[in-house]
């Protein structure tokens, strides 16, 4: 029985997927943690900040999972009808919620901490476990109200309570210094809260509270006499729209059942329907046989009504229409969570790009969002589909919901981009030169060319196969080996600056001087002793915009990819397209994106993720070079492209059939 209860709990039903997600997040953090030093003293401030930030983000995500699992519900309606004690139902439910929120986080923590060394590993462990205990406490506190009900009563007060608790949890995780005490405190509080709720749980839950709030309008009239109730006629009831107490009641005789049985269908048709009174004659409404034909509306006139008529109505009416479409299709907490996340990703993408990084991982995460928004809108479309609202207008809401956070995130990132240091595009970290990924090269069935310095020192960069057994590979032509001299590394940095910004700091011949103290290139080989990064000194490039052209092309490609995913998604609903074809295409493409993303996350396992991350950027660079347009024109070119894609998807959206689902999903049982 308990197993069945667990199995039907929506939290447990999604546990496999959550664990998979937790494992992947753990692997991602593990790969990042493996680059950190073993000692916490060696950690820079930004790295400590990163650990706090990552933990906060994960806890925030786990909180959203709590919301997803309808945390305010203690038992399903079906379970309420079963002879199971309420404390048992509550234990199953809370355990399921905890499993769904804490277990993935614990898994992610363990995996991430296993990749870090020494004190840093312990730091990660504390951060993750503290997130778990805070989540446990929050889950208990969310449920500590209305302990006699199967579901906490939601209302403005409860929403404020939940929002405050969530903020407090995120702040605690993000701001309080990491220590084992900070792990134990929420754990003890969670145990106390759990014990409190368990002690106050009755033997059986109620569906609604017994104590109702006082009525705002109380009718002072005494209750009706039950004997008189049967004599109340409908006219008295409808007077003033309020049920009236009868003063004089017609004592109409009740119908004779024998007479009723004599009413046959032939008799029914003999009675014309002229008035409401006739309808209920003898207690049996008659169906009409003769009616006055009313003139039909002229379709031509109707088509002219359209927007002209609609615009004549007041602002209030328009507001209700906007609100209805928006609230029905868009305004769901999951959308907002995703929108917030994607705004952040938009910001992070532009910032990482501005500092010479690879925006691909962020971009691929943000791909999920437009698909998700559209999916949810289509699922809810049937709620307003019977209304004469143009589909194009409905689509505008969906598209704007996508566009606004992206523009906000991109604009914020753009502000950061303007402030970024162009010299940061080429930098060194732990004796390894980092260059923008588009400066890498592709090889097919050929060995990686060796880089030879003017003074004879040579190095062959490592090749990164696209996948195991592939004949194609990518390599970083500006790489240097662990044994390479500082002079060689400086030479490579100089070449990289030339590749990225179009002009080098020095001619290569400047490096022929074997003197280590040569002031020309001395600065290039220097790295801070403690800090892990140095920027190319002396470069005051005005070429911060050198990558903006590439970014414009990337945006265009992203628009096309989103359009493709949206189109395939909508084609699945299209009545004229064989669904299996569209579904196969959609799942195939989405699967490819997901597989790509997974491979890049699991780089420790695959060993070829770097190639997958770099390859799209190299191809983008080639595409950008193939388009003979200046950067402003490239950006302008995105406008007609976006408009064309918008109208293409809009056209599909206007022709799809809104899916309807009559069967109540299991998780609704908990709502």
């Amino acid at each position: 029985m308990i197993v069945t209860l667990f199995r039907q709990d929506p939290a447990c039903r999604g546990l496999g997927l959550l664990l998979l997600g937790g494992g992947l997040v753990g692997l991602l953090f593990r790969s990042l943690a493996s680059t950190l030093p073993a000692s916490t003293e060696a950690l820079s401030g930004s790295t400590r900040g990163w650990i706090f930030f990552a933990t906060t983000l994960v806890v925030f995500s786990s909180l959203t999972i709590l919301f997803q699992q309808n945390f305010m519900t203690r038992a399903s309606r079906m379970a309420l009808a079963l002879p199971i004690a309420a404390p048992t139902l509550w234990r199953v439910r809370i355990l399921s919620i905890l499993l769904a929120s804490v277990l993935p986080l614990s898994l992610a923590t363990l995996i991430a901490a296993s990749g870090a060394r020494g004190e840093v590993g312990e730091l990660l462990l504390i951060a993750g476990l503290r997130g778990c205990t805070v989540l446990m406490l929050v889950a208990f506190l969310f449920q500590c109200l209305d302990s006699d009900l199967h579901m906490v009563q939601t209302g403005p007060h409860y929403l404020i309570y939940v929002a405050s608790l969530s903020c407090a949890a995120v702040l605690y995780v993000g701001l309080v210094p990491l220590s084992w005490i900070s792990v134990l405190l929420p754990a003890l509080a969670a145990l106390a809260a759990g014990a409190f709720i368990h002690a106050h749980t009755p033997l059986a839950y109620l569906l609604a509270p017994t104590q109702l709030p006082p009525l705002t309008q109380v009718d002072s009239a005494p209750p009706l006499d039950p004997d008189q109730l049967s004599q109340v006629d409908s006219a008295a009831l409808t007077q003033d729209g309020v049920p009236q107490r009868p003063t004089q009641v017609d004592s109409a005789p009740l119908l004779d059942p024998d007479k009723l049985s004599q009413v046959d269908s032939a008799a029914l048709t003999q009675v014309g329907v002229d008035s409401p009174a006739a309808l209920t004659q003898n207690g049996v409404p008659q169906h009409p046989t003769q009616v006055d034909p009313a003139p039909l509306l002229d379709p031509d006139q109707l088509s002219q009504v359209d927007s002209a008529a609609l615009t004549q109505v007041g602002v209030d009416d328009r507001w209700i229409l906007h609100r209805t479409i928006f609230s029905t299709l868009i305004n769901h907490w999951l959308n907002w969570m995703i929108a917030g996340g994607c705004t952040f990703i938009g910001l992070a993408t532009v910032l990482s790009y501005g500092s010479g990084g690879n925006p691909m991982p962020h971009l691929f995460i943000s791909l999920l969002w437009p698909v998700s928004i559209l999916e949810q809108a289509v699922i809810r479309l049937h709620r307003i589909d019977h209304l004469p609202i143009p589909r194009g207008r409905i689509f505008a809401y969906v598209a704007l919901t996508l566009l606004i956070p992206m523009v906000v995130g991109g604009s914020l990132g753009g502000l950061g981009l303007l402030d970024s240091d162009p010299a940061s595009h080429v930098r060194s970290s732990q004796r390894r030169l980092h260059v923008p990924p588009e400066t890498w090269e592709i090889l097919t069935d050929a060995p990686v060319p060796t880089v030879t310095a003017p003074w004879g020192e040579a190095y062959t960069p490592r090749e990164h196969r696209l996948y195991p057994g592939s004949s194609s590979a990518v390599y970083n032509p500006y790489e240097s080996g662990a044994d390479s001299s500082d002079r060689f590394r400086a030479l490579q940095a100089n070449r990289a600056v030339r590749a990225v910004h179009g002009r080098a700091l020095f001619a290569d011949e400047a490096f022929t001087d074997p003197d280590d103290d040569n002031p020309i290139w001395k600065g290039l080989r220097q790295e801070p002793a403690q800090g892990s990064t140095f920027l190319v000194p002396g470069f005051e490039g005005d070429a911060a915009t050198s990558r903006t052209g590439l970014y414009a092309v990337g945006c265009g490609v992203a628009i096309l990819l989103v359009t493709l995913l949206w189109s395939l998604n909508l084609l699945r609903q299209h009545p004229r397209v064989a669904r299996w074809i569209a579904t196969t295409c959609y799942l195939g493409l989405f699967g490819l994106v997901a597989a790509y993303y997974l491979a890049t996350i699991i780089e420790d396992i695959s060993g070829f993720s770097e190639a997958l991350l770099v390859l799209p950027m190299i191809l983008l660079r080639r595409l950008a070079r193939a388009i003979p347009l200046a950067v402003p024109l490239l950006w302008l070119g995105n406008l007609p492209l976006a408009l064309a894609c918008y109208f293409l998807v809009r056209g599909l959206f206007c022709t799809i059939e809104a899916p309807t689902g009559k069967v109540r999903p299991i998780w609704k049982e908990y709502g």
Binding site: S303, D306, L321, T324, H386
Partner: protein
């Protein structure tokens, strides 16, 4: 009379090999009330949705008020009142806001009629949709569907889940409206009493095809229930062997035979074929016709 809806060889399926509607053809005349009957999954809702333009037929043509609902969806929707069992009103709005929304969307909105209906249903303008009972929410939906005085009402299981009193009030309001304006109603229902009360014509769907398309009165005349005393010598086997006998049930006092004949013809058949003279015949309720025509109680 002009045709308000025309279904012409409508075909529709949702999965390969599972046909929901197969060459369905019939029409609804102006001022007609047509009851759409059929088992669960017979295709009633699909047909209503096709009429509304919410689904497209994979073959065949549908014309609603002379328009193709897929090509002119807004024009059709503006002239149609639609209430469905699973229809969800925006629960975050108040009644007056829902009405306001519909008022904006339907240019022919009759405000006085809206007030009249709301008063009749005794629904507060300020009530939030989510606080209404199922019956009240359905009544609000009906107000929204009727207040623009559409020439066609499409009701898909309008009484589903409602108590008899609310259901009757709901349907009587529709009939009254019909009497006033001469509109047509196409409604699907499992409540045979409602169909008998409202419709003047029924279409029965079975396995996606039209099994019966008949005036209700004619349908009643075509079937009869014969009450045959046990001591008359008739047995269920002998009765079932009669041409036109659909089913026989052994009751306490007599055998009940359902015959696809009008009462007088049934009595004559029983007398001539089995020598039964004590049989009484009476019209058969629609529910019995439905059950027997649809293949009995499977």
């Amino acid at each position: 009379m002009s045709k308000i809806i025309e279904f012409n060889n409508i075909q529709r399926s949702f999965q390969r090999g599972v046909t929901v509607l197969d060459s369905v053809s019939f029409s609804v005349e102006q001022g007609e009330v047509l009851g759409l009957l059929g088992r669960n999954g017979a295709g009633k809702t699909t047909l209503v949705r096709i009429a509304m333009g919410l689904l497209a037929p994979q073959a065949g043509q549908v014309r609603v008020l002379g328009l193709d609902p897929r090509r002119k969806p807004l024009e059709v929707k503006r002239q149609v009142g639609y209430v469905a069992e699973e229809q969800v009103l925006p629960d975050f709005l108040r009644v007056k806001e829902v009405i306001q929304l519909h008022r904006k969307l339907f240019p022919t909105w009759d405000r006085a009629f809206e007030e009249q209906l709301l008063d009749q249903f005794r629904i507060s303008h300020n009530a939030k949709i989510k606080t209404l009972s199922k019956g009240q929410a359905r009544q609000v939906a009906l107000v929204c569907a009727m207040s623009h005085r559409p020439p066609l009402l499409l009701l898909d299981e309008p009484g589903g889940g409602l108590d008899p009193a609310v259901r009757r009030e709901f349907l009587e309001t529709s009939i009254r409206y019909l009497a006033d304006s001469g509109s047509s109603i196409l409604f699907s229902s499992h409540y045979m009493g409602d169909v008998e009360r409202m419709a003047n014509r029924v279409v029965m769907l079975e396995d996606g095809r039209v099994l019966i398309d008949s005036d209700l009165d004619q349908l009643h005349e075509q079937y009869s229930l014969a009450l045959i005393p046990h001591d008359s010598g008739a047995t269920p086997e002998r009765l079932l062997a009669l041409d036109g006998c659909l089913a026989v049930r052994d009751r306490v006092d007599s055998l009940h035979a359902i015959l696809q004949l009008e009462p007088d013809s049934s009595i004559k058949l029983l007398r001539d074929s089995l020598g039964v003279s004590a049989a009484r015949c009476q019209p058969i309720p629609l529910e019995e016709i439905f059950i027997e025509v649809m293949g009995g109680q499977r």
